[in-house]
């Protein structure tokens, strides 16, 4: 199951020139606004016609500029969840959900009941769209897209119009969908936390070009995502296994390669694999294991590379047993400590965010 996108488009100052594939699981299309993410998904959905290129879905040609083939939207079997819910105001929630069935003649294998329980929609059926909150409406929109039996689900920043509380309310449903839905998802977002929680693979866009793509841990580690995320949010993703707990201090112990780290108690069972996000600004570097420090998480790592620019900072890429960490320190520190590629150092991690209670698909093989 895969979507292959190869597109070129030029409009005014904006040039889009991308080529990528999205396979199983959740592929994040990631970048700042104006990077071309929404343009790409509307082209995949057939709502906008690219000038050049090809779009293939499971081997089916959706668009091919050379062959002058452009399948209309309704025949593409591409489900779309927009930034706004776009529910039909004149229909009940139930008729909205079943729209693909009665108007699109799409007969989903998925039964209505399973979509209802997946998204927690059981009590909404007879309601009218205008009586739903933003988060509820967006859940109905997702259910409606699923019920139309798409071969892939495109989600165009589905949480961007919701406030923090609503986002928090809907994210667990998206996580469930990602794990259990069994349908590939192309997820457009500029929010690092969403992507870190949901995505298996990532395609990073900057100004209409793909600057990095691949399994999310590798991309987050290897690439400096600063230009795409903003300095503040840049960092790495790691996978760790729960190996124990420390009930007295309300901590959970995680194994990260050879080292152990602790995070506030997760309340999950031993052996569970979790995804950790560590921002580069939260990682300091020491040449020897520090003593008498409040920082609990010290991970031995090798320096892979050091990137510097004109400003005060240096981006240090570290490898901890094959998993990448990034550290943002001043250039002066890097010089005074004599940091260089290949040097063994100790990464002092001040803060860890636990993003998802699962091993990513890529780790299942």
């Amino acid at each position: 199951m895969s979507l292959a996108v190869d597109l070129k488009e030029r409009r005014g100052d904006f040039t889009l020139d991308v080529s990528f594939e999205a396979g199983r699981g959740v592929t994040a299309l990631f970048g700042r606004s104006g990077a071309g993410k929404t343009t790409i998904v509307t082209m995949v959905a057939g709502l906008q016609r690219p000038r050049e290129g090809r779009i293939l879905l499971n081997g089916r040609v959706l668009f091919d500029a050379n062959a002058r083939k452009n399948l209309p939207t309704w025949r593409r079997k591409v489900g779309m969840v927009f930034q706004e819910a776009r529910l039909f105001p004149h229909l009940s929630v139930k008729s909205n959900l079943l729209y693909g069935r009665w108007a699109g003649r799409r007969h989903a294998e998925t039964r209505l009941e399973s979509v209802l329980s997946l998204l927690g929609l059981e009590s909404f059926l007879e309601r009218r769209p205008h009586t739903l909150s933003g988060g509820e409406a967006q859940r109905v929109a997702i259910g409606r897209a699923l019920m139309a039996a798409p071969e892939i689900l495109l989600m165009d920043e589905p949480l961007s119009n919701l406030d923090g509380a609503r986002r928090a309310e809907i994210l667990p449903f998206l996580e469930k969908l990602a794990h259990e839905g069994g349908i590939p998802i192309l997820y457009v977002s500029h929010a690092v936390d969403e992507v870190a929680r949901l995505a298996d693979s990532i395609v990073v866009l900057t100004e209409g070009r793909v600057v990095a793509s691949g399994p999310i841990e590798q991309v987050f580690g290897r690439t400096d995502l600063g230009p795409a995320t903003g300095r503040h949010e840049a960092g790495a993703l790691l996978v760790a296994e729960i190996v124990g707990s420390d009930p007295e201090f309300a901590l959970t112990r995680l194994r990260l390669d050879s080292a152990e780290v602790v995070v506030p108690a997760l309340g999950r069972s031993l052996g569970t694999k979790v995804r950790l996000r560590v921002r580069s600004q939260d990682v300091a570097i020491a040449l020897a294991p520090p003593e008498q420090t409040s920082v609990r998480n010290v991970v031995p790592a090798d320096i892979v590379s050091i990137e510097t620019g004109e400003d005060a900072y240096a981006e240090v890429l570290l490898s901890a047993g094959g998993q990448y960490l990034r550290s943002r320190i001043t250039r002066k520190s890097a010089a005074e400590l004599g940091l260089r590629p290949g040097l063994r150092v100790f990464a002092l991690i001040k803060s860890i965010a636990v993003e998802a209670d699962r091993a990513p698909l890529s780790y299942h093989g």
Partner: protein, 230 residues
């Protein structure tokens, strides 16, 4: 009120003419409004102007043009009579045609406005769910423009009830065939001492027009209550 049999005939004829004019012009009105709201083609401004012409022309001129075009020897009249056996000249059908033409710009305006206010993103959403264009139109666009259709239909109906100039020019003033309420009022005013008939018929046309307006408002409100666009 006591109506004379002739007055009853005029009232019945007026209602029939107005209802037929409105219902028959509705599908054409929707099609033209759709074309003007969504279409991009050369001559769009010209089409727009042509449709609005009856609004600004003296009704007598419209009636005369209809007579030339749709009379039994007119190009359209002859064709329609030969192919469909449809005769307009000096028949109630002619009165309906004149009313429809006069009301058409009002109907198109109302429908066009409401088509333009439809959120096209909803149509995109429908397409992404597998609905082809005609299905999207029937299941999303049309229900959303329904209040506009209603408004357009009421305007056209009211215009048809009041239509006088084009009708009398095109199909004359034949009792029982083309004598609608306005023509009957006009005739009554020509005969000394028949003011009471004129007053009765005037009251009837006020009642009919008012009822149509109130009915459409009630329907529109019921629609709005059923779905409030956020």
């Amino acid at each position: 009120m006591n109506f004379t049999p002739a007055e009853y005939v005029a009232i019945g004829l007026s209602l029939r003419v107005a209802v037929v004019a409105t219902l028959v012009s509705l599908p054409f009105g929707i099609a033209v409004a759709m074309l003007l709201a969504r279409g991009r083609f050369p001559g769009k401004t010209l089409l727009d102007g042509l449709i609005h012409l009856p609004l600004v022309l003296p009704p007598v001129v419209t009636g005369y043009l209809l007579l030339i075009g749709f009379g039994r020897r007119g190009p359209f009249g002859a064709f329609l009579e030969q192919t469909f056996g449809l005769v307009f000249a000096f028949r109630w059908t002619g009165a309906a045609l004149a009313s429809a033409v006069m009301g058409f710009p009002l109907m198109v305006r109302a429908v066009r406005l409401s088509i333009e206010s439809v959120d096209r993103r909803l149509e995109d959403a429908a397409a992404s769910l597998g609905a082809r264009r005609i299905v999207v139109f029937a299941t999303v666009t049309l229900p959303l423009v329904f209040p506009g259709l209603l408004a357009g239909a009421v305007l056209a109906f009211a215009r048809a009830i009041g239509e006088f100039g084009a009708t009398i020019t095109f199909v004359s003033n034949i009792p029982g065939e083309t004598q609608t309420i306005p023509s009957a009022i006009y005739t009554a005013l020509q005969i000394p001492g028949s003011e009471s008939a004129a007053i009765r018929l005037s009251l009837v046309s006020i009642v009919i027009s008012l009822t149509a307006l109130v009915l459409s408002e009630v329907l529109a409100q019921r629609m709005r209550r059923r779905r409030v666009t956020p």
